[in-house]
């Protein structure tokens, strides 16, 4: 559809260079005055990357994502978005550049799927009370993009968990951002919805967005991500391509069980339980 193309291209061609899009410079973060949850993290991400953040529970994955999304401000170091410190940007500016998909969405009131996706246009609202034609067009495009047009009029809390996650991804796409952040996007999904969501995210990264997600499923991350970052106790243990990160002795060190790593027929490292 020609309409589709105009909307996608507007996102993809605005800034085609390969300079760092999102950078962490020596950030450390702690809640209250406890020990560091994140300690001295350096990370540089560019467009076109699909970054998987891995690590055991409590390693600081979600916290890192919140710091990257600008909802938590690190005590030391800074996060740069296209060279500009994150905390200098307003919420509206941030929302036009970074979209966030939480683990689960539980709305307090019964909105329809379409209304939910349309909320992704909030950053562009300005003082307008009503959405304009362009907002509706983008929301429709986002629904088509994730393949749930048929659910548009359904109540969000009436559709399945997998469909809900697709709708929330559609909302994030409707924000038309360069960066997508996802907190365990596929943890609660069945295998088909996992496949769908991850394929959409991969397409997004190939369409020159930067996608960063946290994962527990090492094999899914290995199969879909271009770059992996392995966290343990608030520090980056190793980062790089799946081949570099998923090695037996590193995983043993981080997770404390002797995992086996094999090559899958398609050439990805595959982690097996002992």
């Amino acid at each position: 559809m020609s309409q589709d193309r105009t909307i996608t291209e507007r996102v993809n061609t605005c800034c085609p260079d390969h300079s760092p899009l999102l950078e962490c410079k020596a950030i450390s973060f702690c809640y209250e005055s406890d020990s560091w949850v994140l300690e001295n993290i350096d990370l540089t991400c560019v467009r076109g990357q699909f970054v998987g953040v891995l690590g055991p529970n409590g390693a600081g994955k979600s916290t890192l994502l919140k710091v990257l999304g600008g909802t938590l401000r690190p005590q030391t170091g800074e996060v740069l978005l296209g060279g500009q410190p994150l905390h200098q940007l307003s919420r509206v500016e941030l929302a036009k550049r970074i979209a966030f998909v939480p683990q689960r969405t539980v709305p307090a009131f019964p909105y329809t799927v379409f209304e939910m996706v349309l909320m992704g246009r909030q950053p562009y609202a300005g003082l307008r009370i009503f959405e304009d034609e362009h907002d509706l067009e983008v929301a429709r495009w986002a629904l088509e993009r994730v393949g749930i047009v048929h659910l548009a009029k359904k109540r969000f809390h009436h559709i399945s968990g997998g469909e809900q996650q697709l709708a929330v991804v559609a909302r994030a796409l409707a924000q038309q951002t360069d960066i997508l952040l996802l907190d365990e996007p596929v943890t609660y999904l069945d295998i088909r919805h996992q496949w769908e969501v991850l394929n959409i995210l991969k397409d997004c990264s190939e369409g020159n967005k930067l996608v960063i997600g946290t994962f527990h499923d090492l094999n899914a991350a290995s199969r879909w991500c271009t770059t992996l970052v392995l966290l343990a106790q608030g520090r980056i243990v190793r980062s790089g391509s799946p081949d570099e990160v998923l090695s037996e002795h590193v995983l043993d060190e981080v997770y404390g069980i002797a995992l086996r790593v094999e090559k899958s027929p398609a050439g990805y490292p595959r982690v097996e339980l002992p």
Binding site: S90, R91, L94, A95, V106, F114, I129, L136, K153
Partner: protein, 355 residues
């Protein structure tokens, strides 16, 4: 696609709904003052010159102010209910949740006691007293809120409950040392009533309600996003903390004004947003203005029932004419609202999870 069409129709839908609600409100405002009692329409409408008939005075000084007060208070309470339900993400939230009613009752009681003690009467300051009393818990909550790192509904709910309990403890203390007539006066006020004479309270109430309705309707889109939770709202470009501060203060002030004018009338702020949401959905751009209108209309009808109900009952022979009295509107709203709300709860499907 039809879902999108629904949304592009929203401005027209909103206009139509508001016109309908406004028409109902205006018709009731014009009709209700003339129903019951002895009031002559012709005298009210056509009396000119030096002779002012009793009907005219009754109409302009008691009946019209009373109807306008009912509309204003109902609107204020419903607006506050909508806001608290959205901000706390809880359809059971209500305007008095922050302790406004307890504070206002205490403020009013203190003014009554002061007036009875000395030769100087402070009775003119009764409304001011309850408004000031209503503000005290709000300022305390504001201070608590500033200490919090992020907006935390549980803290506010707990603090509000404690505030209400504490204020009523102090009120009991005041009542214990007051004489019987004063206690009776305090009690009558606690029921909530709209027997207002003149326009002084309305000059305060109505501008607040109109400004509040306009601002909250404009912020309606933001309120929609806020019901997804403060973090999600932040990622969608809402400065959550500031936004919550603004809307909660507006709602709290509306509640305080309403309580100062008519006492703590219950259930309106809880039931009306609920009913309107069931009828037109959860889009706050519609929900806010329509709750204001129907809240006003509901309170107007309840007051009418309490005010004229006994008279009609006497006329129908159900009760003896000597026992005709007014029932305070707070009792009517509670008697209607309570069971109605329970029915809603029984029939309601579960929309919220435990997260």
């Amino acid at each position: 696609m039809s879902a999108a069409e629904n949304n592009s129709r929203l401005p027209r839908l909103m206009l139509a709904h508001i016109c309908l609600a406004a028409t109902i409100a205006v018709v009731l405002t014009l009709v209700i003052p003339f129903v019951g009692g002895t009031i002559n329409i012709r005298e009210v409408l056509f009396s000119r010159g030096t002779h002012i008939s009793p009907s005219t005075i009754v109409f302009w000084q008691t009946r019209l102010p009373r109807v306008l007060a009912a509309l204003g208070c109902g609107a204020a309470l419903s607006l506050a209910g909508v806001v608290f339900q959205a901000v706390l993400r809880n359809p059971l939230a209500e305007p008095y949740i922050l302790g406004v009613s307890g504070g206002a009752a205490l403020g009013k009681a203190l003014v009554l006691v002061l007036s009875s003690m000395g030769n100087v009467t402070f009775l003119a300051f009764l409304n001011v007293g309850s408004f000031a009393g209503a503000l005290i818990p709000l300022f305390l909550l504001h201070l608590i809120g500033r200490k919090q790192r992020c907006w935390n509904p549980e803290v506010f709910l707990l603090a509000g409950v404690v505030m209400n309990v504490f204020a009523s403890a102090l009120l009991l203390l005041v009542q214990y040392f007051s004489d019987f007539t004063l206690v009776r006066q305090m009690f009558a006020w606690m029921l909530g009533g709209l027997d207002i004479v003149g326009y002084a309270p309305l000059a305060f109430l109505w501008p607040c309600v109109i400004i509040g309705t306009v601002i909250l309707t404009v912020l309606g889109r933001g309120l929609n996003v806020l019901t997804l939770g403060t973090t999600t709202a932040m990622h969608l470009g809402i400065e959550s903390r500031r936004f919550v501060n603004v809307v909660v203060w507006i709602a709290a002030l509306l509640t305080a004004v309403s309580v100062a004018v008519a006492g703590p009338i219950g259930f309106v702020g809880l039931v009306i947003p609920h009913i309107v949401r069931n009828l037109i959905g959860s889009d706050h751009r519609l929900l806010v203005p329509l709750s204001a209108f129907y809240g006003g209309i509901f309170l107007l009808l309840c007051d009418f029932l309490g005010w004229r109900g006994m008279e009609f009952a006497a006329r129908g022979g159900a009760i003896r004419p000597e026992s005709v009295a007014e029932i305070p509107v707070g009792i009517i709203t509670a008697c209607l609202g309570g069971p109605f709300f329970l029915i809603l709860l029984f029939r309601q499907e579960r929309t919220t999870g435990d997260v």
